[in-house]
């Protein structure tokens, strides 16, 4: 089934892109997707025809934001950089495509983005967010940010895992043109609900739900999963870390409580199996006997 299947142009007067221009532009994009590319959509029946839903695709190419919306039976909104509104090239087209500009310069950009996304869902619309936060340069599927899961809980909306193949060939990284006649497939998985993953108050639920969504995306896109965030230095050591292109809805701060200063260096670990918990025996008693105080500096005083 191609992208030209039935489509409803939802009226959302409070959101960008409600005008006639947007309606025609959306239709034009959808027609173009089927005419210029070998475009296949699978699992379209998984998209709820009404009510809220969170579309979570893998992210490989700039043109993912064209193909995934074109595969949906309904309009979808997403958050984009506020800077797009400063350029005449993008300030009409992007909102018509469902982009809601959010200023990223403020102190609480993540909260503003989250509130905006929640507004879209609370009004019963579809919202799209890339759970990897940025494009994967390696081609692997990276660890998911928990923002989509937070939104799903806050707005009682399902997540629709989405995987696509072929967009990198259409528009490789750093290319500004979309090469026609390539094959692109977008697949939607069954809706997933947060309450099936545990107590919404428990932070472990967010990660459990997010990982389950990423697993489904990996199955749909055929990508290999790696448990590190995209854009981290570990992904592609030779390239500079790309700035996230999507305004995050996940607040980021280090997981440290009560500490003043850094955690310091990792202790030397002769055996990765060694650890401090009392149920652990996989250690060696390797130091000569004799002295009845531990061989650490802090206890030297007890010899007195």
């Amino acid at each position: 089934m191609g992208g030209s299947a039935s489509f409803s142009f939802e009226l959302a007067p409070e959101l960008p892109g409600a005008d006639r221009f947007s309606k025609y532009l959306t239709a034009a994009f959808r027609t173009m997707a089927t005419k210029l590319w070998d475009f296949t959509v699978e699992g379209r029946e998984n998209i709820p025809l009404e009510g809220p839903g969170i579309i979570t695709p893998n992210h490989l190419s700039f043109c993912d934001s064209v193909f995934v919306p074109s595969a949906l039976p309904r309009r979808v909104w997403a958050i984009g950089k506020g800077e797009y509104m400063d350029s005449w090239k993008t300030k009409h087209i992007f909102p018509a495509m469902g982009m809601i500009p959010v200023d990223r310069t403020g102190g609480d950009a993540a909260k503003a983005a989250l509130d905006t996304a929640a507004k879209v869902l609370d009004q019963g619309h579809l919202f799209m967010i890339y759970p990897e936060g940025t494009r994967s340069r390696s081609g692997d599927l990276h660890k998911g940010r928990t923002g989509a899961a937070r939104l799903a809980i806050r707005c009682n909306a399902p997540i629709i895992p989405t995987g696509h193949v072929g967009t990198v060939e259409v528009q490789p990284p750093d290319s500004v043109v979309m090469k026609p006649r390539k094959a692109v497939t977008v697949r939607f998985g069954a809706p997933m609900w947060a309450h099936e993953f545990g107590d919404p108050e428990d932070p472990r639920t967010l990660r459990r739900f997010t990982d389950a969504v990423m697993f489904e995306i990996a199955e749909l896109s055929g990508q290999k999963y790696v448990d590190t965030y995209a854009g981290k230095k570990t992904e592609t050591p030779d390239e500079p870390t790309p700035a996230p292109e999507q305004t995050s809805v996940t607040p980021r701060r280090p997981s440290v409580v009560g500490a003043h200063g850094g955690v310091g260096t990792r202790p030397t670990r002769p055996s990765m199996r060694a650890s401090a918990s009392s149920d652990d025996d996989e250690t060696t008693v390797g130091v000569p006997r004799g002295r009845k105080v531990p061989a650490t500096a802090g206890n030297a005083a007890s010899d007195s």
């Binding site: 980021r252 440290v256 409580v257 009392s278 025996d281 250690t283 531990p294 650490t296």
Partner: protein
């Protein structure tokens, strides 16, 4: 400083210990400790002498440990129920001068296989009691001034097999916890009556239940052997305000044949040693009207890191970080992960031990130069700073790149009524790297368990192999011993 000072500064008439009908005031306790110190001194116990204590939760344990500490010695408490070979293995690490053997450990008395000279603690304690009773007026406990970093306790931390590890805890390590507990709301006070049902040979029972209560001038109601009905009757009879237990104890209290208002005097109830199931929390609240909180700590942290006290209860959390403790969740490289992500728990606090006795390699593997302890536990913080435990880092099974925490899978399978125990491990798999294996005790069939897993677990977390066993390796504290099945 000296940890033995915890018994000083309280009214002589204030009750310190209640063991059966034996009610011991602080005045009497000090007299008994002083009398036992004279006895111990005659046996060669002094500064830096190590003395092992092989007895249950009885008055003799309290008297003997304070006597040794006061003399400047080091106490090594050992589980009196351990097999002789295990006792010998642990004693061999610390090589104490003597092993004082009390009522609960009397089978070990005079056994040459113990490898350390044993002394009858029952007799010593009764002599000390007689000497105290005969003494004319109060007697001062001898308190040798020690360096704060000098060792006070050697805590054996090994499980059922493998090499024994002995954590060295200093006077300051343990005393700091008492200070910190005095700062949480509500603080422990002289009005508190604490049920001493957790073993004093374990760091929580020793430092949080026994020593912190003595330090505050409170009363400890002791039960040598755990009996659910009897302990709840004690709670009512003695007006216990603080009740602590491991999850299996809470389960038995829940089922005890006592009136539902038996816990009316309790104002703080806590569970430790293993994770408290939410259903158990809810059932206890339903029946007794109290909320059981959890905490997190290790022998190596004396033990408190987080505690469900002084903040509203979040049942599945282990509470908030205790004032004075630094906690970070870090990745492999030691970089703190983002808030809301899982990471290995690393801790720095005045309670963090100085190392394992005579074991520099293991010490260096867990303790960094700047004092951070790498716990090997994976945790996650919520927005408000409550900590939640996930699993042991080395138990994680990685399936197609995704982390599978065995505890999550175990918690699903154990819900089946015909399953009495589950241990989940990983094994190598050609296509997915690793795959999940369930070791099950019980009469449930594989089909039933597969259906349960399909209902509650993402596909990659579902076991691909089920192994049915008659019995699972479970440690004394109720924790499954996964390494035995890896």
């Amino acid at each position: 400083m000296n940890l033995a000072d915890v018994i000083n500064g309280h009214d002589a008439d204030q009750v310190a210990l209640i063991a059966g009908d034996d009610v011991v005031t602080y005045g009497v306790l000090r007299g008994r400790v002083a009398a036992m110190q004279a006895d111990l001194n005659g046996r060669g116990v002094g500064v830096d002498t190590t003395v092992a204590l092989v007895t249950g939760n009885d008055a003799a344990f309290v008297v003997a440990s304070l006597a040794v500490l006061g003399l400047g010695g080091v106490v090594m408490p050992l589980n009196p129920g351990s097999p002789t070979s295990e006792l010998a293995r642990k004693l061999n690490v610390a090589e104490p001068l003597l092993a004082l053997v009390g009522h609960a450990g009397r089978l070990h008395l005079g056994d040459p296989a113990v490898g350390t000279p044993t002394v009858d603690l029952i007799e010593m304690d009764s002599n000390a009691a007689s000497a105290q009773a005969a003494a004319d007026g109060p007697t001062d406990v001898l308190i040798v001034d020690r360096d704060p970093d000098a060792p006070a306790f050697y805590m054996a931390t090994s499980g059922v097999s493998g090499a024994a590890k002995v954590a060295v805890l200093s006077h300051h390590n343990l005393a700091w916890v008492h200070e910190a507990l005095g700062q949480v709301d509500p603080p422990l006070t002289a009005d508190d009556v604490v049920l001493g049902s957790l073993p004093f040979t374990h760091i929580f029972g020793l430092n949080v239940v026994l020593l912190a209560t003595l330090n505050a001038g409170g009363t400890i109601v002791m039960q040598e052997r755990f009996d659910a009905d009897e302990s709840l009757r004690l709670v009512q009879r003695r007006g216990v305000t603080t009740l602590t237990g491991a999850p299996p104890m809470w389960k038995r209290w829940l089922e005890a044949d006592v009136p539902d208002d038996s816990l009316a005097s309790v104002n703080w109830a806590a569970s430790g040693a293993a994770s408290l199931p939410l259903e158990l929390f809810e059932a206890v609240r339903e029946r007794f009207g109290i909320e059981v909180v959890q905490g997190y700590g290790l022998t190596e942290t004396s033990p408190i890191v987080t505690l469900g006290r002084g903040a509203p209860v979040r049942p599945t959390s282990v509470g908030k970080v205790l004032p004075g403790v630094e906690v970070a969740l870090v990745d492999e490289s030691g970089t703190p992960v983002d808030f809301g992500d899982e990471g290995e728990i690393v801790v720095r606090s005045p309670g963090v031990f100085s190392g394992y006795l005579d074991d520099q390699d293991t010490t260096e593997a867990v303790l960094s130069d700047d004092g951070w302890l790498w716990t090997g536990d994976v945790g996650i913080f919520d927005e408000d700073g409550y900590l939640y435990l996930v699993d042991r880092i080395k138990d994680i099974v990685i399936v197609s790149g995704f982390n599978v925490y065995p505890a999550e899978v175990e918690n699903v399978l154990i819900q089946h009524p015909d399953v009495s125990g589950v241990i989940v491990t990983g094994t190598a798999d050609e296509t997915t790297g690793e795959t999940v294996v369930a070791h099950v005790a019980g009469t449930a069939t594989q089909q039933q368990l597969e259906a349960l897993a399909a209902e509650h677990l993402s596909r990659y977390k579902r076991p691909t192999q089920y192994l049915f066993l008659d019995e699972l390796p479970i440690a004394a504290n109720g924790k499954p011993i996964r390494r035995a099945l890896r």
